[in-house]
Symmetry: C2
Subunit: 600 residues, 2 copies
DNA sequence: CCCATGTTTATAAACACGACA
DNA sequence: ACTGTCGTGTTTATAAACATG
């Protein structure tokens, strides 16, 4: 099989104005262990890692290191060194080691490249196995610690938008509020690019994003002295950087469809090694919410087979059409390892992901299948839906829709305590009585029927739908709540007699977001726990991964690789997990020994 | 009196990124008649204007000419020439002549300057009188006409934002919808700067603004072929360019408070002549919604008397602080008179404004006075409200609030048919059933109590209020409708149990916008008339200025002059009109002879 | 492949306002 | 008391990438 005809791709990479096309691929993403010359300062550590262990990093996960361990190496010793040295690592937040085992058998890059370019080959060719993850958490935040085994996090521009990073920052706090300065600091800590190499304007951009987006609202203390930025709860996807890491690095992420886990990790590592345009985060491209081709609906017959061939390099040639290309931001590619002050002890947790078991796509009960959103096809973010009207083809769409809620809820339920910054200042986490009145209010209308409106309500002009069904884990956009009624009246617009009567009877927006808005109390996250513990010793609240809501969840997720000049144009990944049977996805505290016999 | 202690300033001028500070004042705003060398091609006309008649134009009103007529000149002859030549003028939309009479007695610039700088002097010093306005409307849109008496409209950048211009364009249509191309064309027609001198990126900016602002929504025809852009009715202020002209040029605009009408016109002309930073439109500065100093509440005692001294040159010196100043858009100052094809006949209408009778400020019944919005003082657009809590001081605020609705309603009632483009294509103006679901929905909360929350609800953090009480005629921002409930719950934000239950009992937003939203059917504009006349001969629908709603209206309006290097730092204008006794403000067809004895 | 239209993000900048030196 | 600077917040402009038809 060359390429699967079903392509529920949700995310793709997109160049942004500050990213130039003409830059050569940088060479700084892979650092090997003792095998190369520029090895990490391992001598500073008491213990040494065995030979052959390689480290890899990436700007999207500056506090995460991928550790490739040859099968000939004792895994326990590596874990011992890492857990021992985890305290000494120089980073501000929790740090993660993703452990992969590598069988030295077929490690030739050519076969990897062939495999990646042409699709997954046989399982037996895989020489990379995902072992598990070690997460080190800071215990005493203010204690400086000398530099440890690993290098500083990579100081390249992360592939997240400002809006995403601000969400990561704010959601890292238990009470989900931060001052501007704290947001600055959080971003600088987790993405040293902004501390080290970015121009000064990035703080302007942070403030601009805070003001621009309605999802960020500002709260003021009663005395008017302090301002905290929060996220509108209705719009909060509760995204954390750790959540994104989980999605990006989890083998479970690709468990359900074509490329299974080993191949994904394979591909990930391959791209990291080859310094090609990676499927996973890369500096000069960008994780953006969907905006996927309309024709690539999930269950479409492979009529347009040439749609995702390597030749689909979208229009990048109309750029020299008279308009001069102006470099907006100077792209700094190479970063000198900064000598920042390290100041945090670590607590070590070990998590294990079980190996993926390829499961068929769960087609959830199409709850709101009857009324579907009609996209006028050129607008907002696109729904993944069929161009035709056969409703049976839309089963994956509803699966995808449901997965949106599932993603949000599960992300919330899976909120690991390591994601929550523990060194928060005693900021109030309750009794915020007033919120910033955001720009506009309830004018959300309907999710609009299918695109050619099939002659129902003829002569009716319809408003272009938002679509935006991308309520996936990696969708950083605010949640569009349909709650506000105030459907703009279909009468003459030149009339002043518009009423704000809510059209509650109209079942607008049949997206599963209704699960959150209409039945609010059924979803109870860990934040429902009493929050009185914040001012003092910060008792770590560990949410048990099994949420209280027995919701069936199914998530269709995707990443698309940007096409440049190679044949690796589009690679698709999916995620699909349904029901309560996948709490293990939540990365709860699972003993390594259950899955790794080496530890027994 | 040096400067009035009550300063209900609403608008001020503000430089924007594309406007550079270092440009010298341009010299192209005033064109005199036969008195100067570069006279308009009057020879091409059959009749000649008498000597001494001066023409003035300004980029903000490119289709409007201010005609200063000496008292020694026969007014009727001037009107005859203008009405005869109005058909020949080369412009696409309606054109307007604002007629002012000038007594040659005390026309010295120094006294004018003194008067303007130090406040209004005696009435007897005024030598400019506002006579009336001639509006020429195109009769046959597609007939080209040779160039007439007057110069081409000024091709300098208008002082309106893209958002404002898009509103002007869309609201110029009866059905208030336009295609993108029509918006382009309308803006090019009314502001030739964009047709002649602007770079190509301005259309990108138009599209950007349409997408960015929630107030612009897109409707799609049932077949999905055509898209029309409309304005969310709840957010529509029904602003038209003509409305702005009225506000800018009407002597009634300043009838109620300190500076009465003659002085305002005085000042207007003075600034036009002197090429200083004008109170009225200017190219390189900008009409922006309020953002006025908080301490300058309307009826505050003059405690902070030094607040508006000429020395209040805000920080413009931190610009050389390391950041290089980059010219974003090339500022084209001088425009060659374009040789565009003229193609419209004109129908002439004559309107007259009566001379203003200074009326006291009507203090409306403070409808929702008890609960006021608390501004955390650095946010959004500021309410004009007292810093202290004395409610009696807030009477002008409520006046101002009410004026917001009054402005909108009156603007709507005063909607002159000349403002409505008559050459609209047969686009549908009814039966738009679906509207674009806008980004977010009902999360507007409360108008928040006064700033130091006066110990009511202690320990309560409050969200910074929108404020944004600037529902004036010249406020181009969308109306923030409080209709949508979904007050973000004041409980812990880390909770997922946010409910969309509307807090209807909470009287949020006591702004007079409630008059429109809560009592919708009481306000009936001319658009309520049957719209079937659009496709054919375009029967000109003249709304009678007396609206159907007996609302008391009082508008406090203001313009602030940006301070550069002279003492004319801030000038304030007010508008206040109440009740039904000011239908004459509606610029209905009032005979000139009633007010100008010269015509009798 | 080009073009018009539409969406989204980045970046620069003007300016307001309060705190503070 | 005046003045300037700085941090924070709001708003607009402009360029650009990319999607869709
Ligand atoms: Mg915001
Ligand atoms: Mg819009």
């Amino acid at each position: 099989m060359r390429r699967s005809p079903r392509r529920p791709l949700i995310l793709k990479r997109r160049k942004l104005p500050f990213q130039q096309n003409d830059q050569p691929p940088t060479d700084s993403h892979s650092q090997s262990g003792p095998s190369t010359s520029k090895d990490p300062p391992k001598s500073a550590a008491n213990q040494c890692l065995p030979d052959g262990v390689r480290f890899m990093g990436h700007p999207s996960m500056p506090a995460t290191q991928v550790v490739v361990i040859p099968k000939t190496v004792d895994l326990q010793s590596v874990i011992g060194v890492l857990t021992a040295k985890g305290k000494e690592r120089g980073a501000h937040g929790p740090n993660t080691f993703i452990l992969l085992s590598e069988s030295s058998s077929c490690s030739s890059g050519s076969s990897l490249k062939k495999e990646v370019a042409e699709g997954p080959l046989d399982d037996s060719l895989s020489n990379i196995q995902w072992l598990g993850k070690i997460t080190t958490s800071p215990l005493e935040p203010d204690l400086p610690t000398p530099m440890g085994v690993l290098k500083q996090p990579i100081s390249e521009r992360p592939p997240y938008s400002y809006m995403a990073m601000i969400q990561f920052a704010i959601n890292s706090r238990r009470n989900r509020r931060m001052t501007l300065k704290e947001i600055y600091t959080w971003i600088e800590d987790h993405f040293p690019y902004f501390r080290d190499v970015a121009k000064k304007g990035w703080k302007n951009s942070i403030r601009h994003n805070l003001s621009l987006h309605d999802m960020f609202i500002r709260e003021t203390s009663p005395d008017g002295k302090v301002s905290f930025w929060t996220i509108r709860p209705e719009a909060n996807r509760f995204l954390t950087l750790d959540q994104v890491y989980k999605v990006l690095s989890s083998s479970r992420y690709s468990s359900s469809i074509k490329l299974e886990a080993l191949k994904v990790q394979h591909f990930f590592l391959f791209l990291l090694e080859r310094r090609m345009k990676p499927l996973l985060p890369r500096t000069d491209s960008y994780l953006v919410p969907i905006q996927l081709p309309v024709a690539s609906s999930v269950l479409m017959p492979p009529s347009s087979s040439s749609q995702f061939t390597p030749s689909c390099s979208q229009q990048k040639r109309n750029i020299p059409r008279g308009t001069k290309r102006v470099r907006i931001a100077p792209k700094v590619t190479q970063v000198d390892a900064p000598s920042a002050v390290i100041k945090q002890h670590k607590e070590i947790k070990i998590e294990v992901k079980e190996e993926p078991i390829p499961a068929p796509i769960k087609c959830e009960t199409p709850k709101a299948l009857s009324k579907r959103a009609a996209s006028s096809s050129r607008r907002k973010q696109h729904l993944v839906h069929s161009v035709h009207e056969e409703p049976l083809l839309l089963c994956p769409n509803n699966t995808f829709f449901d997965s949106g809620v599932a993603s949000d809820a599960s992300a919330f339920h899976d909120m690991h305590d390591s994601e929550l910054d523990r060194h928060e200042q005693p900021s109030p986490d309750r009794e915020f009585s007033f919120k910033t009145p955001i720009k506009s209010s309830s004018h959300l209308t309907s999710s609009t029927p299918s695109k050619p409106p099939s002659n129902i309500l003829p002569e009716l002009w319809k408003v272009t739908p938002v679509g935006k069904g991308s309520q996936s884990v990696l969708d950083f956009s605010p949640i569009r709540t349909p709650s506000g009624p105030t459907v703009t009246p279909r009468r003459d617009y030149t009339t002043l007699s518009f009423s704000s009567t809510p059209f509650k009877d109209l079942p607008l927006f049949n997206s599963p977001r209704e699960l959150l808005t209409s039945a609010p109390s059924t979803v109870a996250g860990p934040a429902h726990a009493p929050m009185e513990c914040l001012h003092g010793g910060c008792s770590i609240h560990l949410p048990h991964a099994g949420g209280s809501t027995p919701m069936n969840r199914s998530l269709t997720e995707g990443l698309v690789l940007d096409t440049m000049n190679d044949s690796l144009s589009k690679i698709f990944l999916d995620i699909s997990f349904s029901g309560l049977d996948d709490e293990d996805f939540g990365m709860a505290n699972i003993s390594w020994s259950e899955f790794i016999p080496q530890l027994k």
